[in-house]
């Protein structure tokens, strides 16, 4: 069983994603939060005691702490957790930053749920997945943070 913490600020999207994943046999969405800050609070509160979460599945654009920032903090504070990012649009610099933070997946939010599930299984097996459409968008990316 893969235990997932889901972070997504749009409640409709969050609810549908959680319901879809919960219909998969070996995936369970243990908790749903509305931004990166809430995700960190949840993990700080529960993780060390219970080891309840295997994968953090997160949106990028969220208030307070974004998904990219979350991935960076997780890599440092909870290196045993695997982060997978779902996004609607691949914006300049996001993929590079996400990969630098060691995320296990970078895929489109609207991908068929079987594919999303597949990415989570692969992540558990230590394999990384990047959506081809997003990868193409990233080819001529200039990272706005390092490229002033």
């Amino acid at each position: 069983m893969i235990n997932v913490l889901l972070a997504e600020d749009q409640s409709m999207v969050r609810g549908a994603l959680a319901a879809l994943l919960n219909m998969e046999e070996n995936i369970r969405v243990v908790a749903q939060v509305e931004d990166g800050k809430a995700a960190l609070e949840y993990l700080n509160r529960t993780h060390s005691e219970t080891d309840a979460i295997d994968i953090v599945l997160t949106d990028i654009e969220m208030p307070n702490i974004t998904g990219i920032e979350l991935a960076e903090v997780l890599a440092e504070k909870f290196p045993e957790l695997r982060t997978v990012i779902v996004t609607t649009f691949g914006r300049a610099g996001y993929i590079r930053r996400a990969l630098a933070a060691g995320v296990y997946g970078f895929i489109l939010k609207d991908a068929p749920s079987e594919i999303l599930a597949e990415v989570l299984y692969k992540a558990m097996a230590g394999k990384k997945t990047i959506d081809p459409e997003l990868a193409i968008a990233a080819l001529d990316d200039k990272d706005p943070l390092s490229d002033k």
Partner: protein, 225 residues
């Protein structure tokens, strides 16, 4: 995320300033177009990206629920999909009309339609006559941004857009009655930053007040137009 966009906006403005020195009309035009496209892309992302994503996920869910024999729940999701899609279509139509509005009056109508459509009781009391094209252009961007912000960020039930002209001072106020938590500092995104820059260009004043809902107010010298 705001940080990212802010940098992009800055360099765009710098580019434009640099090219102005060279008096290269074509390049000015080109850069203005690119900047505008970026703005629209952002708008689109916000307006349609979420909706379409919700539609994809909910319809997938409905399909799976039906397949699993949970027809009642599936049906409920389908109903929501159709409602969301209708809303998206009307939002798209309004956005398009807003982009195409040619007079200030048309624009005000479009904007107040968008608010009313979202169930926000809207009061418009504006005299936008006799403004220079430059002021008009600035005001239309400011109005559009302020209204988009209400739609995106506030939980307002009422909104007011009004102008006041006195002693050669022109004041435009856009006010909503949403709850803005005082702790939460207002972080300027591209939107408010853009308003600030435009008002600055016109040597005007720009105020944000969150003591009662969210208020954006700008003041311009009438002669400066």
């Amino acid at each position: 995320t705001t940080g990212l966009f802010f940098l992009a906006a800055m360099s765009r403005a710098e580019d434009i300033a640099r090219y102005k020195d060279h008096r290269s009309n074509e390049k000015i035009e080109q850069l203005a177009i690119v900047a505008e496209r970026e703005r629209i892309a952002r708008d689109l992302h916000d307006i349609l990206g979420h909706t379409l994503t919700s539609i994809v996920l909910k319809s997938q869910l409905a399909e799976k629920l039906c397949a699993a024999g949970q027809t009642a729940q599936g049906q409920k999701e389908i109903g929501e999909v159709s409602r969301i899609a209708s809303e998206a279509l009307s939002e798209l139509r309004q956005t398009v009309s807003g982009y195409k509005a040619k007079t200030m009056e048309q624009l005000l109508n479009k904007l107040s339609d968008r608010l009313v459509d979202k169930g926000i009781v809207t009061e418009v009391e504006c005299d936008l006559s006799g403004l220079s094209p430059k002021t008009e252009a600035a005001l239309s961007l400011i109005l559009t941004e302020a209204v988009t912000n209400i739609l995106r960020h506030s939980n307002a039930t009422r909104a007011k857009i009004n102008t006041h002209r006195e002693n050669k001072i022109f004041t435009l106020t856009v006010q909503d009655n949403g709850t803005v938590s005082q702790a939460q500092q207002v972080q300027c995104g591209n939107g408010l930053q853009g308003i600030r820059e435009r008002v600055e260009e016109l040597q005007g004043k720009f105020v944000i007040d969150t003591s009662e809902g969210f208020m954006v107010q700008i003041q311009l010298q009438e002669q400066a137009q």
